[in-house]
Subunit: 202 residues, 2 copies
DNA sequence: TATGGCGTTCTACAGACGTAGAAGGGTGGC
DNA sequence: GCCACCCTTCTACGTCTGTAGAACGCCATA
């Protein structure tokens, strides 16, 4: 219960996220977190005694960063009106995806690892927060656009966009896809998202 | 090098896949595989001495099962003609997804875990070829349908469909989504896939 | 200056893990 | 009937991991 220094706590969880991204869940150990964070051995164990606590802290941290991230990226103004500017929206979503593939790649990798872990550990459900937020935004958009079945379509839309993200992340389509961070990739992603948006509102 | 009994080998890799699905990559150990397969302790270690070999065998097995699975599910006849029956195709894709969420859930979970693992272990990448096969089919379809940018759109399509699968698997959309295996789920998936197909060919 | 509390750092330990090699046992050739 | 071979099974061992608790040092108070 020695949760006294917030920056120390943040350093630990960030180190844990980096480890998960680099080595997978298997690489997440108390000692590795200490080393990665540059803190004396035993620190992670003192702050988060059990491994469960460690994983839960990671999930909470990712969820917090995600919601903060999504909050700063508001949907472009004028988009949720009756005649939404789908192209502009597609661009901004593509930019988000590209960010999550480059600067935010670490967190994205860790998030998917936790998502998989949450399959058999319901207490990790907070990791789903980003999806919930995105779904809400999508459903609001589709409702405003007057699309039928906004709830269902919004959910499908988010899932499909998530698929694009995972695809680029895992390199499944690496044969033809441009590397993340390049203008081509953003353009390619924007084209894909544009198609998805158009289909959702039609 | 004692790879003598094929059914023993298959039992080991299947047990390994089940373990990954249940406990994640962290649960994949030689001893756990032995126990799960009901074979004497030390068997997995004898067949697949290093952990790397164990993981690679798992990946290979998943890839084999995937390609065998996809080979039996041929695209419905008359679909790749000039006027493809998108609704029928959507139905059959939805059926595949639903199968992979129920009967094939174990393998689906293990596949995503391996996909994530392949991110930092390139030697695992070439073996996970299920996406390649699906992409080829999608691109052939779109080409036949006369869609522009068939290659790019086919890739996006597969990624989006994969997103639907992962979404249902991880329960991200569990708030509103019907449980896998039910007719509602198949119908819901079919609706989503239909939208994606229509957008891809337009 | 002494003292008490509290956050930090270190040490301990049991169990699990990866890996290697020895022991065991059954089968085919001679 | 005997032997050699090879697959299987068992044992060994050094390392890593999770978890606990003791030792330490710092700061505030008296």
């Amino acid at each position: 219960m020695a949760t006294t220094s917030p920056e120390r706590f943040a350093a630990l969880t960030d180190a844990a996220i980096a480890l998960i991204a680099e080595l997978g869940m298997r690489g997440l150990t108390h000692r590795a977190v200490d080393a990665r964070a540059g803190l004396p051995a035993g620190t992670a164990s003192a702050y988060l005694r059990t491994r469960k606590a460690l994983v839960e802290a990671v999930v909470q941290r990712i969820a917090d960063l995600d919601t903060a991230d999504l909050a700063t990226r508001r949907v472009p103004t004028g988009v949720v009106e009756a005649a939404p500017d789908l192209d502009a929206l597609a661009e901004s979503i593509a930019a988000l995806l590209d960010d999550w593939l480059t600067a935010g790649r670490t967190r994205t990798l860790a998030r998917y690892a936790c998502l998989l872990e949450a399959t058999h550990h319901p207490e990790l459900r907070p990791i789903l927060a980003y999806g919930v937020a995105m779904r809400a935004q999508a459903q609001a958009l589709l409702t405003a656009a007057g699309a039928p079945d906004a709830e269902q379509r919004g959910s499908h839309l988010v899932a499909a966009v998530d698929g694009l993200l995972f695809d680029r992340l895992a390199g499944a389509g690496s044969l033809a896809a441009p590397p993340p961070g390049t203008p081509q990739n953003r353009a390619d992603l924007a084209a894909a998202v544009r198609g998805l948006l158009r289909a959702a509102v039609s």
